[in-house]
Symmetry: C2
Subunit: 155 residues, 2 copies
């Protein structure tokens, strides 16, 4: 008689990651830096090569920066120029430009809680005040850094 002993060990690791802020933001900063340094070269293809992505991705972001009044892009001839001095463009300006939402809320709060419960009845208002503050200090930190300051560090 033979005894078969089968031992199965399963190790399951589940890593749940929160969605992060899109790379559009860092790509936009990269793009604006290039425009500030050498506006003439800045076609979508040139920027795409520096960023290492597809030109369409750059053009999409350029469209947002244009809509936000940060750059002027010239169709046909190519190239782009800053519409504000680089010491007057902050990371917050760029952040807002590429996130492009009316209510730019970093945190989401679950909705329709049960109003029969004191916690459910109050949580939205109470939490929102706190989270708005937290978002605000983050944004104020972004507002303290200008494109100009970044460019200094690229030399």
């Amino acid at each position: 008689m033979t005894l078969y002993l089968v031992v199965t060990i399963m190790v399951t690791t589940v890593v749940i990651q929160v969605k992060q802020i899109s790379t559009r933001f860092s790509i936009a900063v990269h793009t604006l830096s290039l425009i500030a340094v050498s506006p003439k070269d800045c076609t979508g293809d040139f920027i795409a090569r520096s960023v290492n992505t597809n030109p369409v991705v750059i053009r999409r972001i350029m469209g947002m920066l244009k809509k936000a009044g940060l750059v002027d892009v010239r169709p046909g001839v190519g190239g782009a120029t800053l519409l504000k001095d680089s010491d007057r463009i902050t990371l917050l300006d760029v952040y807002r430009a590429v996130n492009a939402t009316e209510e730019n809320q970093l945190f989401r709060i679950h909705d329709n809680p049960n109003f029969d419960c004191p916690v459910g009845r109050n949580i939205e208002q109470v939490l929102q005040a706190e989270l708005r503050d937290a978002q605000s200090v983050m944004e104020q930190r972004l507002a303290q850094t200008t494109l100009d300051q970044l460019i200094e560090k690229f030399k």
Copy 2:
């Protein structure tokens, strides 16, 4: 002879929204508040009714809070208790518990930029320092609010 004049007007509005921080965070705060107020009632179903979601959603979040050492959940009998006093649990603790990543980075930076370009070569390091600061001030603001302070406002 007939002249057909066809005019097509298309108005396209594209709203791009950045991904926000998941409602797991606010649901977790809601859950902990309930546990602090009435630990005995706090079965997954009870909490789910207050939050207005499916009990499985709550059990998943409870699992994260348990893993973070914030609560003790008892299978079978039901109910949960806080493992720390409510004045020693901050919003940052909850935020970290439900985001559950090693490198809990709020911002993403595009990778593999072109190192032949001075901007591409330096952007990651330069931007990362700024964004780490911005994330940090936000988290420090979360750290200033305790569960206890919130509960006070629910009464």
